[in-house]
């Protein structure tokens, strides 16, 4: 069990880490030339005039990948404690973990069978 001091280090790190990239950007802001005009500020879309706004219709496939990822991510909440404690556990725990993973694999197999994982 670490002390809160280790986390104090991480906290200070979180506060400081922004400074490193921010400094050169601010420095550049001070030094660089600033002569924007309407032409320069156009969005770069291969020289084609921008038509409409940025709300292009996205395919639902992105959502499906995000969804499968979310489910597997949540699985980690249980698998990491299981893995850490594994040395102290018995065959029963192995069975429990096996069943847990097996049940989730069902979902993956289903998605595979329904061709939900294809990039169409």
């Amino acid at each position: 069990m670490e002390t809160l001091n280790e986390w104090a280090f991480v906290g200070v790190f979180f506060a400081i880490a922004w400074v490193f990239p921010a400094l050169p950007i601010i420095g550049a802001w001070l030094v660089r030339p600033k002569k924007p005009n309407a032409l320069k500020k156009q969005t770069y879309e291969s020289g084609v005039e921008t038509v409409g706004d940025t709300w292009v219709q996205f395919r639902v496939q992105y959502y499906i990948y995000g969804l499968v990822f979310l489910i597997f991510d949540v699985e980690m909440i249980f698998l990491f404690p299981w893995a850490v404690a594994y040395e102290r556990l018995d065959w029963f725990a192995y069975g429990a973990g096996f069943l847990f993973i097996f049940l989730l694999t069902d979902a993956l197999i289903y998605a595979w069978r329904k061709r939900a994982l294809e990039w169409v």
């Binding site: 639902v60 992105y62 990491f80």
Partner: protein, 178 residues
């Protein structure tokens, strides 16, 4: 009464993050901003978990909420083209909701939390037990026969059902061979 040290300062900053982010979520017009406010708020909650000596849950909070749920929400915002809600942000009865919510908070805070858990209550201790269970103990509890092994498996089934259900509902009819 409350001394000024690193922990209380961290607590104050995190509380500001949580509540500010929460207010951002419910008031902002732009839903992408809303998702980012949500991320900020949830990051604050992760900080709370660290302060409460549950670093495992803090990491999981960042992993699940910020890495996955927030991304999913942004996907949904883009897919439904509801980046900025046209027209009103709030419905017509919003002030009724606001009053109800304020009353509810007063009830919770003044009516329950302060009398029950305030000064002199079990939680008002100055020193906490130094030894708390970590991920190892959580793992043991999760798969122990007299512990949470049944909820553990049910969680797996719930996740499976959620994934299958969401895929079925979200997919277009044309490209899924039913």
């Amino acid at each position: 009464m409350i001394e000024l040290n690193a922990q209380t300062i961290a607590f104050a900053i995190l509380s500001a993050l949580i509540l500010g982010g929460g207010l951002g979520v419910v008031t902002t017009r732009n839903l992408v901003h809303g998702a980012l406010w949500l991320i900020l708020s949830l990051l604050g909650v992760a900080g709370y978990f660290v302060l409460l000596s549950a670093p495992f849950l803090a990491a999981v909070q960042v992993l699940v909420y910020i890495g996955a749920i927030a991304i999913l929400i942004v996907f949904a915002v883009m897919l439904t083209r509801s980046m900025t809600s046209l027209g009103e942000v709030r419905n017509r009865q919003w002030w009724i909701s606001a009053i109800t919510v304020v009353l509810l908070f007063l009830l919770l805070a003044v009516g329950i939390i302060l009398p029950v858990w305030g000064r002199g209550a079990p939680g008002d201790v100055t020193t906490l037990s130094a030894t708390v269970g970590g991920a190892v103990e959580l793992g043991e509890a999760l798969v122990a026969g007299d512990g949470f092994v049944l909820p553990f498996e049910v969680a797996s089934i719930l996740l499976t059902a959620a994934m299958i259900g969401a895929i079925v509902v979200a997919r277009d009819e044309e490209d899924g061979q039913a």
